[in-house]
């Protein structure tokens, strides 16, 4: 045991976190390694990232004692919840000289009037990504939720479809397909959506929030319900690996969920100074453009526009035209009673 002590002492400096570290809790595949490295160089600090792949996961993790993050990147509904919970600190506009770059259309959102707590970072749409080569071969439509809900389409796709492992997102897709709002909380409509999902489930391979990127790129999966930026990633991965097929993605015509993801600062952030520096860094045009060019997300930053490559800027599933925008909705958070009801339905969906 005596020999252990010096060993422990040697390890101690490794364990003690470097003083200048910014802890960022962010969606997976939402900030490119290049951008992160550039920020680290500019700031002379470390950017430590943890990832989540669902807002619920992030909120639950915070509730379960994940204190110590400086910055989070929640979607609108989760921002609203965090504000009501008192879990955030206001952003100090005076430390964000580049805030003016935010597109006025994205300022003053319903979930945070006046942008007191949040600064918009990127947008994504929950849609269908697919193996275009395969689907053309099979003669299947790609612009409708019917692709993942109608047994007629699903028969040749059996075991080749993944859907998000997120009760909110999957219900939203089903509700839109049934002609309801994604925000609908009417239990009767929920039950109808559940039945629709249960009818289609036998044809699906699995529920997946992040692994579908790889499965699409490999060709294991032909249709995935997921986020637009993840489909961009799958497409790029498949191209880079020289896979013999093309990946496509389309916003279903019945409408879909739009996510506006914003930077917010945790109330207990150990380093609000670094958090502000990071936000302002990300607000600068060239840096802001990265999330579109390298990740494939929509961009709420005016100054980024000129730097965004045309093939990204012209992609309607990334920058939806006005006509499509009318069919996109943002989610609202649920109260505990609704959460429990949804959890029950979700369990039913998974068990039956």
């Amino acid at each position: 045991m005596k020999r252990l002590l010096p060993a422990l002492l040697l390890l101690a400096p490794l364990v003690a976190t470097a003083t200048d570290t910014l802890h960022l809790y962010i969606w997976n595949n939402y900030i490119s390694a290049q951008t992160a490295t550039r920020f680290e160089a500019a700031c002379g600090c470390r950017l430590k990232q943890d990832y989540y792949s669902d807002n619920e996961e992030m909120l639950a993790k915070l509730e379960a004692g994940a204190t110590g993050y400086d910055l989070l990147v929640p979607t609108g509904n989760a921002v609203e919840t965090l504000i009501r919970k008192g879990a955030l600190q206001p952003v100090d506009r005076s430390r964000l000289p580049h805030f003016a770059n935010v597109d006025p259309a994205f300022r003053d959102p319903w979930f945070d009037p006046g942008n007191r707590y949040s600064v918009p970072y990127a947008t994504s749409v929950t849609l269908l990504g697919y193996n275009a080569t395969k689907l053309t071969e099979l003669g299947l439509p790609t612009d409708t939720w019917a692709l993942i809900f109608e047994p007629a389409h699903l028969v040749p796709l059996k075991g080749r479809v993944t859907v998000l492992n997120s009760p909110r997102e999957l219900m939203a897709a089903a509700l839109r397909y049934l002609g309801h709002s994604a925000q609908d909380t009417d239990p009767a409509h929920w039950r109808a959506a559940r039945d629709l999902i249960l009818r289609a489930k036998p044809y699906w391979a699995t529920f997946s929030n992040s692994t579908y990127i790889k499965d699409l790129a490999l060709g294991n999966i032909w249709v995935a319900h997921g986020y637009s930026n993840d489909m961009v990633r799958a497409r790029a991965d498949a191209r880079a690996a020289g896979r013999p097929f093309a990946i496509g993605f389309t916003i279903p015509k019945e409408g879909a969920v739009l996510a506006v993801d914003s930077f917010v600062i945790d109330r207990a952030a150990p380093r609000p100074d670094l958090a502000h520096r990071f936000i302002d860094f990300m607000l600068q045009g060239d840096n802001a453009a990265d999330v579109s060019n390298l990740i494939g997300a929509g961009n709420p930053n005016r100054a980024a526009r000129p730097a965004i490559r045309p093939e990204v800027a012209d992609e309607p599933a990334i920058f939806p035209p006005a006509e499509t925008l009318t069919r996109l909705e943002m989610l609202r958070d649920l109260d505990p009673r609704q959460r429990r009801l949804l959890a029950r339905m979700w369990t039913e969906i998974k068990v039956k």
Partner: protein, 258 residues
């Protein structure tokens, strides 16, 4: 023996079942392909990437520190518990010592999470992980130490006492040397349990304190690259070395431990 043919076949199949998957993991850690679906060409770049990855190094350092600290504490407490179980056959202690060992891990993880958050309102981190690891390791050490004591001749201790040795002296001079192999085995066991634990750590880990298994889980779930294979290979090499050392210095621990 007549049936040795089928016995050999079955056993070989079982060994193949044990080793082929791991061999594939090791092989594909040298594959020069981000997607890692089929073999492209040999590279060691994933190892280079791994060794330059500060998150990974930090996680490894955390794992090591937690394993050393928790197995040290667990060995001390577990040895005491093992002795107590053997000497005095107390009524409540077996329940306390043996239940955490025999319950599904998730239950300990969840209840500790509730305890740390709801009662202590603690910031999860090194301390919570440490406490959790000690809790599930004590039982294993106690069982091993008690087994060691059970195989021993009680007369020796009586003789030491009769010769006027104080309890402490009896312990230092007689008991401790005799049960030392058990204590070492217990230490190695709890070290392995700690450095390997995922389920309980998953519930009680906090921000900025990741362990290697948590890091591996996040990589498998979010962004699988051959880096996962590389870290797996290195970890296997490390445990291999540890086992080789254990086999060299305390041969009988391997056979007794689980």
């Amino acid at each position: 023996m007549k049936h040795s043919a089928w016995l050999w076949t079955a056993a070989l199949a079982a060994y193949a079942f044990l080793y082929v998957p791991l061999a594939i993991v090791v092989l594909f850690s040298f594959n020069d392909s981000e997607l890692n679906a089929s073999w492209v060409r040999f590279t060691t770049r994933w190892y280079a990437k791994l060794l330059g990855d500060p998150d990974m190094l930090q996680a490894a350092a955390n794992s090591l520190l937690i394993a050393i600290a928790s197995s040290t504490i667990a060995t001390i407490l577990g040895t005491m518990a093992g002795i107590a179980l053997h000497r005095w056959r107390p009524r409540l202690l077996p329940f306390l010592v043996l239940t955490p060992v025999s319950m599904p891990e998730i239950l300990l993880g969840v209840s500790l999470l509730l305890f740390f958050r709801q009662v202590l309102d603690l910031t999860l981190g090194l301390f919570s992980i440490l406490a959790a690891h000690v809790t599930f390791s004590i039982g294993f050490v106690a069982i091993i130490v008690r087994a060691r004591l059970a195989g021993m001749d009680e007369e020796i201790f009586a003789a030491a006492r009769d010769l006027g040795a104080t309890p402490w002296r009896t312990f230092r001079r007689v008991t401790l040397p005799l049960i030392l192999p058990g204590i070492v085995a217990g230490f190695l066991m709890s070290f392995t349990l700690s450095i390997d634990d995922f389920v309980i750590t998953f519930f009680v880990a906090g921000v900025g304190v990741t362990t290697l298994p948590l890091q591996i889980y996040s990589m498998i779930k979010v962004a699988v690259t051959p880096e996962v294979n590389a870290v797996s290979t290195l970890l296997m090499a490390l445990t291999l070395t540890l086992i080789a050392l254990a086999a060299r210095f305390a041969p009988d621990t391997l056979r007794r431990s689980p």
